[in-house]
Symmetry: C2
Subunit: 261 residues, 2 copies
């Protein structure tokens, strides 16, 4: 199983603390040694780092864990390959452009028979079931909305519907963003925490690192972190349930729905 | 004016030596201080590093210059902004997917009136004339060929024609790749050198670095480097002429044509 990490914040925030925990699980405290990737949005574009090496052994991961890149939306993934060989083109997150926006997607799980779903505009570059599912979702969004829908609510609701349509194919925990919202679907395991004033301290679960958020934030900051399992051991994370679909904008929940798992 | 750097090789080769020279020009020995980017292909996917900081001051550029990422095709760009503000979404290279391949594009020059050309499938994420030209070219390729054309020659010829159609809009020096070929159009200034056995030594023009290629290569290696101006001072670079369009695959020229400049 792979691990996911996401962030949605109302102010550009670095994710070094959480990423340090994820990296330690990538072939260190966890079995996910088949590559990793992270995408940091800046405006409508994003900055991406990927490697096919286990994140604990990756020079690029060490650089990213120590170099504070500030972003409003982050999507990261460490991989334990189950569909598609270990190579860069099979390494999450995947990305495509729609309506002049960058869409980024990372997935944990396996989807049986997903490749039977026909594609129109977007084609996978690699051979994973994940990228096929992403291309199919973007296809459907593009077919439904030739340009940006009038409200974010409509778009969230439509993506919730697509998620529910794919979910029966297997395990479909994903993070998706269009540079504005962070869309999250839970099929088996995902949790989140929203940090805001008054900020406290937290200690990573697997890496021996502690942080005092009050030293790194202002009173107005709202930062939500999403992960496969809680990254810290002394905070209260909200577990998502199978079938839960949630959307965050600027660290705050803007949409939530549940479909039968 | 921006500077371009490209590489096409028949074996995965690192570009640290040439990139060191490019970085030194990015706000150091040159005026190109409005960001930089580099894309390294691995199979059909690519790895990308970008920054809006001047490359001489960029921690990411320092990392890339010292970390040998091996690739068959590399496209890099350092920017002196003339169209579009300095931000990540306006930072070259730009990329899109077509036929399940990653296409990457970097441009040096200005193109007047290019935004009047209507777009169908691909939309710019940023506001540069360069990205608009890239989207238009991909649109035309997609309209002409719904799937991969039968021969590389046909595709090269078609892209040569598109280049000649855009060239009258201004200055159109570009590097473009579809993960297999490196397409190059010269409007004012570009040159290239092919290095193969017997390999010799070379010294960078602006940075005090010398390399003995014979220490880093095998007898069968063929590596072509393309740059705005020669990067080394003791090798013989081939200057391209205005209107020249050239394609490299695995370090070797596979197509060449000239249109009236």
């Amino acid at each position: 199983m792979c691990e996911l990490l996401g962030m949605s914040a109302n102010t550009a925030t670095d994710i070094c603390f959480s990423f340090t925990e994820l990296v330690s699980r990538g072939g260190g405290s966890g079995p996910h040694s088949d590559g990793w990737g992270i995408s940091f949005y800046e405006g409508k574009a994003f900055r991406e780092f990927k490697d096919t090496a286990a994140s604990v052994n990756s020079e690029i991961a060490k650089f990213v864990a120590n170099y504070p890149i500030k972003s409003h939306i982050v999507i990261s993934h460490i991989r334990q390959a189950n569909s598609g060989r270990v190579c860069l083109e099979n390494t999450h997150p995947f990305s495509r452009e729609l309506w002049g926006r960058s869409w980024v997607f990372a997935h944990n799980g396996q989807l049986k028979g997903i490749k039977k779903k026909a594609l129109r505009y977007y084609r996978p570059i690699g051979s994973t079931d994940s990228e096929h599912a992403f291309c199919w979702m973007l296809d459907q969004i593009r077919i439904k909305y030739a340009s940006l829908p009038p409200t974010d609510f409509q778009l969230s609701k439509f993506i919730a519907g697509l998620s529910a349509e794919i979910a029966p194919h297997g395990v479909f925990n994903f993070l998706l963003s269009d540079a504005k919202s962070l869309y999250i679907h839970c099929s088996t395991k995902l949790c989140w925490i929203t940090r805001q004033a008054p900020f406290g301290k937290a200690r990573l679960a697997d890496a021996e690192v502690e942080i005092d958020f009050s030293q790194h934030t202002t009173l107005n900051d709202i930062v939500t972190v999403i992960a496969t399992t809680p990254l810290t051991e002394d905070e209260s994370w909200t577990s998502m349930l199978p079938g839960d679909f949630t959307v965050f904008q600027g660290g705050q929940r803007t949409y939530s729905s549940t479909s039968p798992a």
